[in-house]
């Protein structure tokens, strides 16, 4: 009886928190069939928002993949003063609210800040434009690749790399042929997590983008803006699209992770 009680409690909890809201969004999206859904997502504003999201997410993923693998190697394979500090700093983005991240970036790169002013002088606008949104997205998804790769790198050990060096391979060949295949699953997992986070980011991007429709509006900002303007059809359609991307990402992660165990 107790077992049944626990199951019912868990299911009820999930039903009201997860299943009901998602199901309602799906239902509202498709209540008039597929046509309004397609129409809402193919409007110029929606398409532009998708494009901005993809550009921002792509840059953030590339940057965090390179940075993440580099820092993971630094943390696991090297000893240097300040290593513990770096290790602690990596997790900072998880602790800081995205809104704070956004405001902090404006303080540094805003038009009236020294760094931002100088960049503006040479023709690069950071805040209220794509570069700032990329920076904000990189910041919030910073730890994901590092934290996925570092433990696997640790477990892999450095003997295979040393063997490769004694066989005449230089550091780059060793990285490409020995290290990279060893961390491939973990890296894929980290990249997917980073991509999911980048696609769904709202808070930090909302602050630094200025929410300019058809300019700096990402798909999450589009959902919010359409909803505020009583265009529920478009808001729900975009939200469903985001949810579907998230589900696909989750499935891909599940397919990737078991390989790490073998």
């Amino acid at each position: 009886m107790a077992r049944h009680g626990l199951r019912i409690a868990a299911l009820t909890y999930l039903f009201f928190l997860l299943v009901l809201p998602v199901a309602l969004i799906m239902w509202r999206t498709f209540e008039h069939g597929l046509a309004p859904f397609v129409e809402a997502l193919t409007s110029p504003s929606a398409l532009h928002a998708f494009k901005v999201t993809l550009i921002v997410a792509a840059w953030a993923v590339v940057a965090n993949t390179i940075f993440g693998v580099g820092v993971a190697i630094l943390l696991v394979r090297h000893e240097f003063p300040g290593k513990r500090l770096l290790n602690a700093l990596i997790d900072l983005p998880l602790a800081v609210s995205p809104v704070v991240v956004g405001l902090a970036l404006i303080l540094v790169y805003g038009r009236f800040a020294p760094a931002g002013g100088w960049l503006e002088d040479i023709g690069i606008q950071v805040i209220f434009s794509i570069p700032g949104m990329v920076l904000a997205t990189i910041f919030v998804s910073l730890p994901l690749v590092v934290r996925a790769v570092a433990p696997v790198l640790e477990e892999l050990g450095d003997e295979q790399e040393q063997a490769s060096l004694t066989l005449g391979a230089n550091r780059w060949v060793t990285f490409r042929r020995i290290t990279l295949p060893g961390i491939r699953s973990a890296l894929t997992y980290g990249v997917i997590l980073c991509l999911a986070r980048a696609l769904g980011e709202y808070g930090a991007v909302a602050v630094v983008s200025g929410r300019l429709v058809d300019e700096t509006q990402t798909i999450t900002l589009f959902v919010e803006e359409r909803f505020q303007n009583f265009d529920q059809q478009a808001a729900f359609a975009a939200a469903t699209a985001l949810a579907m991307i998230a589900v696909v990402t989750l499935l891909v992660t599940k397919l990737v992770t078991p390989k790490d165990a073998s």
Binding site: L165, T166, L167, G168
Partner: protein
């Protein structure tokens, strides 16, 4: 000389690991670095390979100063205790790695890998992955991989340390035979004195980061420079404040010139060998005798006997420096 290590010092943090170490390894030899764990032997091997940089001193390989050379330019073969097999590559891929890195033509590469796999008796396993091999097979694969690039010197770090006793013995004999075939200058690290004596033609004893003695196995065994080396290379017992090998003791039932009185405390029969444990002036000692001697002397617990070192026996005062 194939390898000349001179005056190498190395410390990890504040702990010195190698102190003023100088070792010469002659071309074509099979040298054992022997010593207790933590004695610095693996570090010395890694310094030769370039995997560790010495704080001071120099390493010359085949006449070329390699002290500041990166490991990938030294042309040494290195075999790790835990094999360091490339897990995502087949046996063929592992052995071919060094040749691929050197961009050898495909045909030559295939021929060479095939030869090496035959040499280490793994020719049927070319398409397997390391995870599908036993420990001994993995280590032979690692050896073939190291030999593939025709290294000037082959370095083995406790190569049989992770294997069970039976495989260990087989591989030992096999390594000796392989060396006689291939003739590459080889240095291997071991903490097993039996392994060193059986396989090597030169033994370098390292302890506390210092070279204590170097010489042929016979020389190091018969003429140890101090009690430590004597104890480390074989069994010893203490007779009147002197260390002596238990098989160098003569037992008699009557006093002889230079002999000491002892009371037999236990007789242990280990096949052809009899271990006679005795008490001399309240101290424990033991002698190794043959079954014939034990029977002739009619040894029993409590018998009084007389012991003295044989004429040719090596004696070392226990407290010698």
């Amino acid at each position: 000389m194939a390898i000349e290590v001179s005056k190498v010092n190395k410390a990890f943090g504040a702990t010195p690991v190698l102190r003023n170490v100088s070792v010469d390894v002659s071309s074509g030899s099979l040298t054992a670095l022997l010593g207790p764990s933590g004695g610095g032997k693996s570090t010395l091997l890694r310094v030769i390979a370039g995997l560790e940089k010495p704080d001071t001193g120099s390493v010359v390989i085949s006449g070329v100063d390699a002290t500041n050379m990166a490991p990938q330019h030294r042309n040494v073969g290195f075999v790790f205790q835990h094999y360091a097999a490339f897990k995502h590559m087949t046996v063929f891929g592992n052995v071919a790695f060094g040749l691929e890195v050197r961009k050898r033509p495909k045909r030559e590469l295939r021929k060479r890998v095939k030869e090496l796999l035959e040499l280490v008796h793994l020719e049927q396993f070319a398409d397997r992955y390391p995870a599908q091999l036993s420990g001994g097979q993995r280590q032979r694969m690692a050896l073939a991989r190291a030999l593939a690039v025709e290294p000037q010197v082959l370095l083995l770090d406790e190569p049989f340390g992770a294997l069970d006793a039976q495989v260990r013995k087989e591989l030992r004999t096999w390594l000796r035979r392989l060396h006689d075939e291939v003739h590459v200058t080889t240095v291997f690290v071991t903490h097993d004195q039996e392994e060193a004596i059986e396989v090597a033609d030169t033994i370098v004893v390292l302890a506390n980061g210092e070279v204590i003695q170097a010489g042929s196995p016979h020389d190091v065994y018969e003429n140890p420079v101090n009690p430590f080396v004597m104890r480390f290379l074989g069994p010893v017992t203490n007779i009147n404040g002197h260390l002596v090998r238990p098989h160098d003791l003569e037992l008699t039932t009557t006093p002889q010139p230079g002999s000491t009185q002892a009371i037999v405390s236990r007789i242990l029969r280990l096949g052809f060998e009899v271990r006679v444990e005795m008490i001399i002036d309240g101290h424990d000692a033991w002698a190794q005798a043959t079954r014939g001697t034990a029977q002739r002397l009619n040894l029993k617990e409590g018998t009084t006997i007389y012991v003295r070192p044989a004429a040719e026996a090596k004696l070392l005062p226990v407290h010698a420096a």
